[in-house]
């Protein structure tokens, strides 16, 4: 039996306090193994992004546990979570979030620099950029690139440190159909390369490419 890359057990997360308190995730369980692409769907505000944030160690859960690559997130300090994000997790945002001051190549390389990857980082970044067909875009600033190019660079950035888990929050939400299809193809390819991919989405095309589709409703995953 292959160990799951990410395993969530009884995850609870609430926002607000008193009468305004709202439980967004209510005892959520989830396991994703290498090579698996799991799509989490649900209405806006259903907690899809919150679940991804918790799995990336960007936020703390109220109850339950999440294990990524064998590491219990709730037991980690901030420094431990930072190290985990550097080495084990790649994150893809709906709005790409490329730094506007850096070229596409530099944006990809930045993640490797933060992880203090040595000389291999440059070669790895170039290889990824080439494999994603971004040679022309890599030397340009994000503001001059199309949405599809920006998102593909964001995926390259997520992959540059060789993470075991890739989390994608509405990766096609800001893209046209053609670019969205390309990005989904890339994510499918990442999962096929023995990585675990979890994507939060509304996109029917995305769910069609997923190995499993889970719906978040009333805080529960089903």
């Amino acid at each position: 039996m292959i160990e799951p890359v990410v395993a969530a057990r009884g995850v609870v997360k609430s926002f607000g306090s008193g009468r305004a308190a709202r439980r967004v995730l209510d005892h959520v369980d989830l396991e994703v193994r290498p090579g698996e692409l799991v799509a989490v769907v649900g209405r806006s505000g259903s907690g899809k992004s919150t679940l991804l944030h918790l799995m990336a160690g960007l936020d703390r859960l109220d109850a339950g546990s999440i294990t990524v690559a064998g590491i219990r997130l709730e037991q980690q300090s901030q420094a431990g979570l930072t190290e985990l994000r550097r080495s084990r997790i790649g994150f893809v945002f709906q709005s790409f979030h490329l730094l506007p001051e850096l070229s596409g190549y530099e944006n990809v390389l930045l993640a490797a620099r933060l992880a203090r990857r040595g000389a291999g980082a440059t070669a790895r970044a170039r290889e990824l950029i080439a494999s994603l067909g971004l040679d022309g875009a890599a030397s340009r600033l994000p503001g001059t690139l199309s949405g599809g190019e920006q998102q593909r660079l964001a995926i390259a950035r997520a992959l540059v440190n060789g993470p075991a888990l890739v989390l994608a929050d509405e990766p096609t939400g800001n893209l046209d159909a053609e670019s969205g299809a390309t990005v989904l193809g890339l994510l499918r390819g990442i999962a096929d390369g023995e990585r675990a991919v979890v994507l939060a989405t509304h996109d029917a095309e995305a769910t069609a490419r997923a190995d499993r589709v889970l719906e978040l409703r009333d805080g529960r995953l089903g």
Binding site: D59, R85, H97, L99, E101, L102, A115
Partner: protein, 755 residues
């Protein structure tokens, strides 16, 4: 308006932490303004205040002793004269107490009428045997009322009981002035100086119309036939002379005030912009609900004004109190009076200005934000300008540099503030170094010998033979007056041989003396007597004989305000045979001053270490140094605050970028490195521009203000420049660490949601 006030108050009460932070910044800026205003106002108005309280005459006339009835008759015949009073002054007296001693004292016998000095402690002279001492002497020697002070000159001795302390703003105070001044009963002074009854040599004139003083003095000259050596000094002339003494301090304060103002604007502008950046969503909401940009800006301005009024008042008071002590000491040195309660008005004006500045700097970004389409402000959009491509790499520091470059105008403004601040810091370091050298290093006054020995000229061979002694020669110094203007006193310094190896201030013009009838004069003396190469200096010596020299060159001598003349000793001794020498001792390279002093003591001599100008101006230099140190610390704090504010605004504006970095695995150290990149770019550029500014603008200007008779290099040396650059770099890293600490405490998801 009332609804605006309610909204403003509610917002302040709802965010006490941020309100306190903003208040702290405003209070810091206000403290700087308060400090600068207090010192500048005190110095700018000190003379007039002291002159008014003392009833300083509109003009003073000095002349060879004349009968008071004759002088009064002529003075009162002048049409514009309102009042006149007379004194008999005996200059060059030795003044002493049980503990202290000073030469060049001036004992003045006062007669009836207006005094021209202000009693600040005790009472005025009422009878014989009483004396009023000047405040500088009282402070320097710690004289108490009732204590006895002695005076001595040739065969005259007298002792007096101190009954009062006076301030006379017609000269700087002892020890900055040549000698102390004492005011005694007229008959006491007359007997001491062995003058005939009724003799006076100073007339104090008060006129009806001060505008006509020049005309009155012209008429006085015409009416002065038979009165010898008449010289006039007007109140305005005294004011100008005193201002020269304080010129460099006032110039520094003006520069400091400009730095303070610039820093305050940068601070307030940054914090307001950061605050508005935080509030973009609520501003968008208010606009959606129908609020006009004007109403939003007014509400924010009112909020800023409320905080500024309170915090500004506290800060101004703190700044004023902090510099009260050094200012008071400076005014004492200049024989001037502190402003007292009158300082309240300029401080209130500062407060009004500060409140206005805060209101405007708060309202402007609010107006800009509220004028944008509400949909943009509701999104809380990142205010980013993307710069042209620059090859800086993709490291954390380089990213920080790019963040700074993406806001070129703000970065340039902050660099300008830091450049101005660092140029002032560099000037202060250069000044402090100069003050230190003036106190300790005889080289600054052109003296190359390190030890002097009171001994006869015949002892020179024995001293030369001692180990560690590179050379020794007899040096004579006598006080002289110009034969054509006896009021112009100077020192004649004679060396047995060539003076250059022992004492040689740099030449301003001409050449070194080469013959016994030649003289090198200090620039101060050359300016006073209008001397140049080839001119004749006629020196009236204490023996009563006159000796003449031809000027070979003019030197930039600092000692005795440049009123010195270097000659060969043989001609001086021919005219002043009883001049007492000291032996100037040069030390061999490798030998220490202490070792040579020990050898001299073993040989039966009493060596003295040669210093700078401490003996006379040490107290004043210490006051200046204290003031410089206070300001340097404040400016350092200002730089840190400016950097923190700039980085806080950057972190606020780029909250999403920082959140993305943290999502990619950036820890606190890397966020610090990014912000340090921004801060270091600003700090290092500021330091570099500041160094250039100091070298080519600030230092030459300050040097010119410091003294016209000598060239004082106020250009910061490599060590001071390095220290300033390093200090600013450290402040940059400190500010980055401080801001990063706060930035990584925010939840990452909160930053990611800012879109």
């Amino acid at each position: 308006m009332s609804s605006l006030l309610r909204v403003a108050l509610a917002r302040l009460a709802g965010r006490p932490g941020r309100t306190l932070l903003a208040a702290g910044g405003i209070a810091a800026a206000a403290a700087m303004l308060g400090a600068a205003t207090t010192v500048a106002f005190g110095l700018a108005t000190g003379f007039d205040r002291a002159a008014d309280r003392a009833g300083l005459p509109d003009a003073m006339a000095q002349f060879d002793a004349e009968d008071v009835r004759e002088v009064r008759r002529r003075a009162l015949a002048l049409p514009n004269v309102r009042s006149v009073s007379f004194r008999l002054e005996d200059g060059g007296v030795e003044v002493y107490t049980e503990r202290d001693y000073a030469r060049h004292g001036k004992l003045q016998g006062v007669r009836g009428g207006e005094r021209g000095y202000a009693i600040v402690e005790g009472r005025d002279v009422r009878g014989r045997g009483e004396v009023v001492v000047e405040r500088g002497l009282q402070r320097e020697w710690g004289i108490r009322l009732g204590e006895r002070v002695g005076v001595h000159q040739f065969r005259s001795y007298a002792t007096f009981e101190v009954v009062g302390v006076a301030v006379t703003p017609d000269n700087v105070a002892f020890p900055l002035a040549n000698g102390p001044r004492l005011y005694a009963h007229y008959e006491d002074v007359r007997e001491f100086s062995r003058e005939r009854p009724g003799a006076v040599n100073i007339a104090l004139l008060w006129v009806q119309d001060p505008e006509q003083i020049d005309l009155t003095l012209s008429q006085a000259r015409v009416a002065s036939f038979g009165i010898d050596e008449l010289e006039f000094v007007t109140r305005d002339g005294v004011h100008t002379l005193i201002n020269q003494a304080a010129g460099i301090v006032i110039a520094l304060l003006v520069a400091f005030s400009l730095v303070a103002l610039g820093a305050a604007l940068a601070m307030l502008g940054s914090s307001s912009a950061a605050d508005i950046q935080r509030r973009l969503v609520s501003i968008g909401l208010l606009r959606t609900l129908g609020a006009t940009p004007r109403a939003i800006a007014a509400s924010v301005a009112l909020e800023g004004a409320l905080v500024a009024a309170l915090a500004g008042g506290v800060g101004l008071a703190i700044g004023a109190i902090a510099v009260h002590g050094p200012t008071d000491r400076l005014l004492v040195a200049l024989n001037e009076l502190g402003p007292g309660a009158a300082i309240v008005w300029p401080l209130l004006a500062c407060l009004a200005g500060l409140v206005l500045v805060v209101a405007v700097t708060a309202a402007w970004p609010a107006w800009r934000a509220a004028s944008r389409p509400p949909v943009e402000t509701l999104g809380g959009a990142d205010l980013v300008r993307v710069p042209a491509r620059a090859r800086l790499g993709a490291g954390s520091l380089a990213l920080g540099v790019r963040l700074a470059l993406s806001r070129p105008r703000r970065t340039a403004a902050t660099i300008a503030v830091l450049a101005a601040a660092s140029s002032i810091v560099l000037l202060m370091l250069a000044l402090a170094g100069l003050l230190q050298r003036l106190q300790d290093d005889p080289e600054t006054v052109g003296k190359r010998y390190r030890l002097s020995v009171p001994a006869a000229a015949t002892d020179v061979p024995a001293i030369r033979a001692l180990p560690g002694v590179a050379g020794a020669t007899a040096r004579y110094e006598v006080q002289a007056a110009d034969s054509f203007a006896l009021g112009q006193a100077f020192s004649v310094i004679g060396f047995a041989g060539d003076h250059v190896p022992y004492e040689a201030p740099p030449l301003a013009s001409g050449r070194r003396l080469a013959a016994v009838d030649e003289v090198e004069v200090g620039l101060g003396l050359a300016q006073a007597l209008n001397l140049s190469e080839g001119a004749t200096l006629a020196a009236q010596l204490p023996s009563g004989r006159e000796v003449r020299f031809r000027v070979s060159g003019v030197v930039r001598a600092l000692e005795n305000e440049g009123r010195v003349a270097y000659v060969r000793a043989s001609r001086l001794l021919a005219a002043e045979p009883f001049a007492v020498p000291e032996i100037a001792v040069l030390i061999e390279p490798g030998a220490t001053k202490d070792a040579v002093a020990t050898n001299l003591r073993r040989a039966g001599f009493f060596p003295r270490a040669v210093g700078g100008v401490t003996a006379r101006g040490g107290g004043f230099l210490e006051v200046l140094a204290a003031l410089l140190r206070s300001f340097a610390v404040v400016i350092g704090a200002v730089c840190l605050y400016v950097l923190v504010q700039t980085l806080t605004l950057t972190a606020q504006e780029r909250i999403r970028a920082l959140a993305v970095l943290r999502t990619l695995g950036a820890g606190r150290g890397q966020v610090t490195a990014v912000l340090a990149g921004t801060a270091l770019l600003i700090a290092l550029c500021g330091a570099a521009v500041g160094a250039v500014l100091e070298r080519f603008v600030v230092a030459p200007a300050a040097s010119g203000l410091a003294a016209s008779y000598v060239s004082l290099s106020l250009v910061a040396d490599a060590r001071d420049t390095g220290l300033t650059v390093l200090g600013l770099a450290l402040l940059a890293v400190l500010a980055a660490a401080w801001v990063a600490r706060g930035a990584v405490r925010r939840p990452i998801v909160a930053g990611l949601r800012e879109e």
